[in-house]
Symmetry: C2
């Protein structure tokens, strides 16, 4: 992609009255724009990142036998009355009335819908356990939209649902999904902790939250440095006595941090199968209410968290696997020097042929302006081509993370980059 044919939409100045650094950088790097409070458009740079993250999540879930489906956003209100959640969600639930006066809700989550579907499609214990997922928009009439895409009215979720003949099977899939989440968040280079949580509105007894460590997070958690697990700070204080034997001995080593909730998994058990009489016969021909698990990841929140954890004064520093582009090419004074242009275009074609996402900055701007933009949007590697280097058949390889350059023979640059990225 050439910058001249791309909508960069970077902002030089910091937007005013923006609370969090990730929100600031998402605006400045041209990832998102607000259409209305809590409602955002994803511009090309932002949407490239969404596509890469959803592809990673899908691929890991598919490899573990989860099946992708797509459930409706508009759902009949009666499903939500039946489950009792119309009342529980209250004003957060967005309601619609059609021209025939039929009432619907805009789904904030899909437990009712997946139960409705599975009750028709699952007839035998032999089909179980089974896990479905989808990646699509959800809706919530947020009382106070804030922090950019972290607390919004319209947002992107990965939600998954599993069904089981008994609790043991549910527990097994639940633990499996916990490990899948760890795999996903590690792949995305997130610094995160797992926090024992309460199911609340969702139903069921056991649930775990996944929290990304971040100063601007609305949660407070407490943990030991090397542990994968953490506690909600308030709860920890309330129940301090319970933890006496183990944690309080180490209290001085406990770390307290703010965090952003990026995932939540639940052992819902029989809440929804009970209110819909969703029975299946087990091996011994006994009628059993199905057990259910549900598993959510906030895609928007992952993106904000990654930025909160990976930035410097110049902008965002994306992990290689989700950067909007993996490499930028920056030819210095290419419009005055034909040789620079020729080398730059040759390298561009070679990288494209290796299926590497490249942004070629072909604007007729100063080096400073172009370099600042590439740093702001956070491309992991850059190739700088200038009069000084080409005399010795070299280019400069820039690393965004190290913020340093080194000279490399341009016969070797492609293989070096390929090794770094894959």
């Amino acid at each position: 992609m050439y910058t001249k044919k791309y909508l960069l939409s970077t902002l030089k100045e910091k937007p005013k009255n923006i609370e969090s650094i990730s929100h600031q950088l998402m605006l400045r790097s041209g990832m998102i724009r607000m259409l209305s409070s809590g409602i955002y458009t994803w511009l090309p740079t932002g949407y490239r990142i969404i596509k890469k993250i959803t592809k990673i999540i899908s691929s890991i879930l598919n490899n573990h036998g989860c099946m992708e489906i797509c459930m409706p956003i508009i759902q009949p209100e009666n499903l939500w009355k039946k489950s009792g959640r119309k009342k529980l969600y209250g004003e957060e639930l967005i309601k619609i009335t059609d021209r025939r006066n039929k009432k619907y809700v805009l789904s904030p989550t899909h437990e009712e819908a997946i139960n409705y579907i599975c009750q028709q499609e699952i007839h035998s214990y032999k089909q179980l356990p089974i896990t479905f997922y989808q990646i699509q928009k959800k809706f919530r009439d947020e009382i106070r939209p804030r922090f950019g895409v972290i607390r919004t009215i319209e947002f992107l979720m990965k939600d998954a649902y599993s069904f089981h003949i008994n609790k043991d099977s549910l527990k097994k899939t639940y633990e499996n999904m916990k490990n899948i989440y760890i795999k996903i968040f590690k792949k995305l280079k997130l610094n995160f902790k797992i926090v024992k949580a309460h199911s609340k509105i969702m139903g069921g007894s056991i649930s775990d939250e996944f929290h990304a460590i971040s100063e601007m997070g609305e949660n407070k958690i407490i943990f030991l440095k090397k542990s994968n697990y953490a506690f909600n700070y308030n709860e920890f204080n309330e129940k301090k006595k319970k933890f006496k034997n183990y944690l309080l001995q180490k209290e001085k080593k406990l770390i307290k941090k703010n965090s952003i909730e990026i995932g939540h998994i639940f052992q819902i058990e029989k809440k929804y199968s009970k209110n819909t009489n969703f029975y299946i016969q087990d091996k011994k021909n006994k009628k059993k209410l199905l057990n259910m698990g549900c598993y959510g990841i906030g895609i928007n929140r992952i993106i904000s968290s990654i930025i909160e954890q990976n930035h410097d004064k110049y902008g965002i520093i994306w992990p290689n696997c989700i950067a909007p582009f993996q490499v930028f090419i920056l030819p210095i004074n290419m419009y005055k020097n034909k040789k620079i242009k020729k080398i730059a275009k040759k390298l561009y074609k070679k990288l494209i042929n290796k299926n590497i996402d490249v942004l070629f900055d072909n604007r007729n701007e100063s080096l400073g302006k172009m370099f600042a933009d590439m740093n702001l949007i956070g491309i992991p590697f850059g190739i700088l081509i200038s009069k000084n280097t080409i005399t010795s058949k070299k280019v400069e390889l820039y690393s965004r993370k190290k913020n340093s350059k080194k000279k490399v023979l341009y016969s070797k640059i492609i293989s070096i980059i390929k090794n770094k990225i894959i």
Copy 2:
């Protein structure tokens, strides 16, 4: 994928009171299920097809320099009042009021939103022409949902928008997009015609529709066999005199068919830039209202049309590139014969390693039941492994399109299938 771990959800019996064959086959093959009138869930088999189609469309659009974005589904009502389309759409527009009494609409299309965004992001004629697209759900309070996913309340669209400094540039991109559409529909093996149309609610003067030939279509078109173009039949009759010179000479050769509208492209010109005062300075520093083009494809309708055009009494016959699976493996009596099981699993692994989508039917069912399901969901090729063939180191290769089998050495089957698919 193994059938035992997959949600096949095929129906043996024809569902009752279903008007169209594509709707019937989508239900029977376990692609979709209705949640409410005009509102459908895509089950795993259906969603696999959606993913393949959207990937093909994205890849062709990206290669032509179009940029993918994602605009909000929920949009402030005032944008729609300003454009005048709140009134024009009338009851078809789905409305929302939030807890603060703020009013929104659920987008049936995104002209207002893209204009709002571009007015902030496009400042120079040097950024033009520029084309954006998205693939996401749209909403319409359909007075009479019908024909399965053809006329629905919630549906999947590819919508694209281009901006231009003048009409000539718009025309050029419009013709380019017409060719892109031809490329897309040909890739999807659709039998289609291009029909001169009216822009109506969308605005602008010039527009072309893309129609898939289908008996159950709600439109009637008339055309010459070899032409890419057709006329709306009613319009043709009304304006018969106009066509005297050219078409009427050939009237006997004219073919009249029903059709499904699957795409519509518009030269919107200045309608939206006018009502939002969206000006840009041209090369000569003259203030110009922007010209706009917009381009839609109904993803759901493409799927229905492909099925209408590609089926037989056994079920759907998918083109290779969008089939939910490309190959099925059907081991006959594998639970009684270890050698059959071993060969089947070996072939499965080999195909997976070649990145081919395979469905391994490992159910303990009769050959008839298993074969009927594979034919119903329309997988292009099948490998049948039986006691009779393995004695001569062979398997049977089944072609869904030809509905015929031939014996092939199992040392050669992988390369034969690879050649047929790619």
